[in-house]
């Protein structure tokens, strides 16, 4: 069985890679249909085999699989290897990644139908699937970093997919560089792990964490830090980049310049959750650093609440969903900080489905509207696009945590977990995520109402051609709507009561908030009714109600509100000024430093003064002493006489003394 499984795991990663290579290298030869078939079949194989692996590990309870594929290199007695660790954590991710990717491959047939870069697009998204699977299936930090950077690369390529658009190629460079800032931290974390553990293998590192519980490192003069804190903070900086946490969130809204299918796949469902997955994977390390956990709580809470506010003022349909993604990633991060890793993973899974669904629904609207993304020019689409509207409603309900939907369970557990957490930062985080519920409901239904209900504001020629999206588009929507609605009911019990993740996630007993929640758990139904005793549900309803008031009942209300609180509105519309700040301070500053070093350092000082300067001084020196060799005999004779006289003077002086 073991060998058998190895073939399956290899096929899971290689099938999308094969599809990507064929579509990318021979795109012209196989044509458009050839490209989508080869990649869709590749991802379908990957997805079905992942489900098989899921059954094998989770349902049949097979032991973890941990094998090396090959040795990348050996240096200084350390083997750097490529290999797979398949346990409940990775197999869950594999199913989510390959399945969502599969749906998005199908959807792309409709969305990219008229695009000249059709084959290239399929090649990229399959390549992404390969990279993401390598990331989640890795059994060591090296391969994790490989996948980590590789998904960043594909994200870069896809954001800049429409390479003629200036805003797209600005956004992709920005995304890559901001991610690199995170990777910079991540790499230092990996280096620290290698230094203290002498291996990059997960299991070996996790087995030895106790040894370094109290090890310290001196970073600044005389100030010693716990090694675990340094490692965890470094790794988490990587997660902040990839999972777009404040203040490295700035790239995600701009990434919406890419085609919508990748916004759904990469910038909502999978890649941006890599940071969440990584921290969950490293739970044995993070559990040893309370400092890091507090830091994570604060960062997550700030992202969850303040990015949600920004969703309220955006009019671009994709950007609203993007800010919502930021905010939801903040929720997951808060769960990590509260040591509720399983809850973070739970929300990751449900969010992957409902957020992919929301993005794809937004994409369906965008195609039907002829690439119009401004919600102020939509409205009343319910009549024309009932399937899209209903699936979008399911996604929205899941997002706001409507009782019974998948998002309800995952989000409720996070809020409960923070409530139970005893870390100093948990109070702040609790109120942040609690207020976030209201904000989420408000912006979600603002989007829903503005798009599908109210006055039909579109241009006339668009309005005449309104119709439901084609079947390749609606089919993935319907398929994704099912888990968005129902997944929570099935997963909540094994997650809370059963030992779903097994040994893949470690929580020290003093941080174990989930087990506290589990003691009050008496079945799924009572979990739902129980929720009505606590504020989140009412906050969600309140948000829904306010959205209804503002966008259905009294459509003029928002404008009046903006006039009253113009100052706050300005702050929100400027996204707290982060973009301007980065543009001036970082982008501008770096260029100023570069110009200074280039002009003053290299050209003036080194070349001007030293190199050509020494050449000049040689010339100056030669010009001066050239005068001595005048060629006139009497000059030389005169020099000889002076020399003789000097010699005599010295001689006499010596004799006398």
């Amino acid at each position: 069985m073991i060998n058998h499984m190895e073939t399956i795991y290899l096929s899971i990663v290689l099938a999308p890679l094969f599809g990507s290579l064929v579509a990318g290298l021979f795109g012209r030869a196989i044509g458009r249909a050839g490209a989508h078939w080869v990649t869709i079949i590749g991802v379908a194989i990957s997805s079905i085999l992942s489900m098989l692996a899921y059954k094998h590990h989770i349902i049949d309870g097979a032991p973890d699989y941990n094998q090396t594929l090959y040795t990348w290199l050996t240096s200084g007695g350390i083997d750097f290897q490529i290999g797979f660790l398949i346990d409940p954590l990775s197999v869950t991710m594999m199913v989510v990644v390959s399945f969502v990717s599969w749906m998005i491959h199908i959807y792309t047939i409709g969305y990219m139908h008229d695009d000249p870069g059709y084959q290239r697009f399929f090649s990229y998204i399959s390549l992404f699937t390969f990279a993401m699977l390598m990331l989640v299936m890795s059994n060591n930090f090296l391969q994790l970093f490989f996948g980590w950077e590789a998904v960043g690369l594909v994200s870069y390529l896809l954001i800049g997919f429409w390479f003629k658009k200036e805003s797209a190629i600005f956004a992709n460079l920005k995304a890559f560089l901001v991610n690199r800032v995170g990777d910079f931290g991540f790499l230092l974390g990996v280096a620290a792990i290698l230094m203290y553990f002498n291996t990059l293998d997960y299991v070996e590192v996790f087995n030895n964490v106790e040894q370094h519980k109290n090890t310290t490192i001196t970073l600044f003069n005389g100030e010693s830090w716990s090694v675990m804190t340094v490692i965890c903070l470094s790794l988490f900086i990587g997660a902040m980049g990839k999972s777009a946490q404040f203040p490295l969130h700035v790239w995600l809204p701009d990434s919406m310049e890419g085609p919508t299918p990748i916004s759904a796949l990469i910038h909502a469902a999978t890649m941006v959750t890599a940071g969440i997955f990584m921290v969950s994977r490293m739970s044995p390390l993070f559990e040893l650093s309370v400092t890091a956990l507090n830091f994570i709580l604060v960062i997550g809470a700030v992202t969850a609440l303040f990015m949600g506010f920004l969703g309220l003022v955006q009019n671009d349909i994709k950007r609203v969903v993007a800010y919502s993604t930021l905010s939801q990633l903040g929720y997951m991060t808060v769960a990590l900080g509260a040591s509720a890793y399983a809850a973070a993973m739970f929300h990751l899974v449900t969010h992957a489905f409902f957020k992919a669904l929301l993005f794809l629904a937004a994409g369906a609207v965008i195609i039907v509207m002829h690439h119009e993304q401004d919600m102020r020019k939509m409205g009343g689409l319910f009549k024309y696009m009932p399937i899209t509207c209903l699936t979008c409603l399911i996604g929205t309900l899941a997002l706001i945590g409507f009782p019974g939907t998948s998002g309800f369970f995952s989000k409720d557990i996070i809020i409960e977990a923070v409530h139970h957490s005893s870390l100093p930062a948990s109070d702040f985080a609790y109120y942040a995520v609690l207020s976030g519920v209201f904000v989420t409901a408000l912006y979600s239904f603002r989007l829903f109402f503005m798009t599908f209900f109210g006055k039909e504001n579109m241009k006339r020629d668009v309005w005449k051609n309104l119709h439901e999206a084609p079947a390749v588009v609606t089919l993935p929507l319907i398929i994704l709507a099912i888990p968005s609605l129902l997944l929570g009911i099935f997963l909540v019990e094994p997650l809370l009561m059963g030992d779903y993740f097994g040994s893949a996630i470690y929580v020290s007993s003093e941080h174990d908030v989930l087990s506290k929640i589990a003691t009050g758990y008496h079945g799924t139904f009572s979990f739902i009714t129980h929720a009505f005793l606590y504020p989140p549900v009412y906050l969600a309803f309140l948000g829904l109600f306010v959205a209804w008031l503002c966008y259905i009942k009294y459509p003029s209300l928002p404008e009046k509100l903006v006039n009253h609180i113009g100052f706050i509105y300005q702050i929100l519309i400027n996204k707290y000024g982060f973009d301007e700040f980065n543009q001036v301070v970082f982008a501008g500053g770096v260029r100023k430093i570069g110009n200074f070093l280039s002009q003053v350092g290299d050209v003036k000082l080194i070349d001007g003064a030293l190199v050509n300067g020494s050449a000049k001084s040689v010339r100056l020196f030669s010009n001066t002493i050239r005068h001595i060799q005048s060629g006139y005999l009497y000059h030389y004779a005169f020099a000889i006489i002076i020399g003789l006289l000097l010699l005599i003077v010295i001689f006499v002086h010596e004799v006398l003394s």
Binding site: Y70, T71, F146, V190, V590, G594, D602, I606, V611
Partner: protein, 506 residues
Amino acid sequence: MNLDNLPILSILIWLPILGGVWSLIIGDQEERVVKRFSFLISFVTFLLSVLLYYQFDNSFSGMQFIEELYWIESFSIKYHLGVDGIALPLIMLTTFTTILVVMAAWEVIDKNISYYMCAFLILTGLMNGVFVALDSILFYVFWESMLIPMFLIIGIWGGPNRVYATIKFFLYTFFGSVFMLVALLYLYSITDSFNIQVLQEASIGLTAQKLIFIAFFLAFAVKIPMWPVHTWLPDAHVEAPTGGSVVLAAIMLKMGGYGFLRFSLPIAPDASLFFADAMIALSLIAIVYIGFVALVQEDMKKLIAYSSISHMGFVTLGFFIPFGIFAATNSNAGAVMGMEGAMMQMISHGFISAAMFLCVGVMYDRLHSRMIKDYGGVVNSMPYFAAFMMLFAMANSGLPGTSGFVGEFLVILSSFKLSFWIAFTAALTLILGAAYTLWMYKRVVFGEAIREEVLELKDIDARETFILFLLASVVLLFGIWPAPLFDVMHVSIEQLIQHISQTKIL
């Protein structure tokens, strides 16, 4: 035929040199013959280096394929050749690059093609000579004579400002090398030998070691080049023809690195230890300072030249990190990784810089400009080219999965053992390297083509595709599976680390 007795190293030196002379005899009139003949010579030379690789014994730490004859007996100067795991990868890099350069010149060089091929073939022989010479005078002769063909290449086929650049290049590097000769003569005076291996074993006092180190440093630091003696490189690159830039970046810079490994470190290990902090500081300055400078360049070749200097910072950092580790921990653990990382960085940079310069060459051949502002939107007319260049740009930014990642990664891991802050500073390249490379890529390749000329550019032809494909293959191969390269150098590097970790002061 018994291959064991073949003087393979001599052939690696003299076959290209004689081939070069012969191509001159064939003359410019027979253009096609010259090209085919030069290609044949470069290809056979490469096959010989492959043969060398297969015959090479990975488990043996000493020199192999030794050839030894008296040259000037009264000073015991010998024609003494041999290779170890440090020289072998560099030889293979040299012969591989020569094939690329010959192919790259195929339709591009229209002036004095036989002289051009002659210069490059002779250069190849001389460079092989540098890597296999075990007699220091022989080494010096190869080292200095290498300047002549390069001087001619830049001087004859170079750009408008070629005279300034070529004189600067010559004087700069010659200035450094003279001090090396002084050091060699001094070493002869105390050991009565020019044999490099004898010099490595000689015990020398600390003061003498320091002076020797400084003399060698002047030669090698200029060549590699280290900050602040780097300013000849951007000028030389800008004026050099594409082939010249490729050889310069891919191989000649590595001479400096090779010199450190062969002379500075093993002959003066105590002085190396003494100067290690300063050398690490200079390396970090190269990585960061030059990264900033590269960012604001407007000339693509200058930008890549600066990026080379920054990448070479990792090489020197990897060379001197081990001394820091000896001093800090009294053990060798972690030192090997830095040194091997530096070696890997040299090899990988050979491929990537060659590829980057060839890419600029491809554009220059079409539009006769190296300035970033003259391009923009190249992808619209040259999609295949854009795809290749994307790969190389990513490799230049050190993306995992390409060879550019391996060396930097190992050096950063190794430097963390010495200090968090050194690793921190070195790792800034992750951001800076990506910034300058991808920003250039964005401005040159992406976007709407604004200039008419750019829209009319022809995509790469079969010859250009083949050259870039070869480079792309090795860049990916060594990114995904660098182990074969490390297997070749392990024993030699470990022995070197062992050697330099012991004091030579009696």
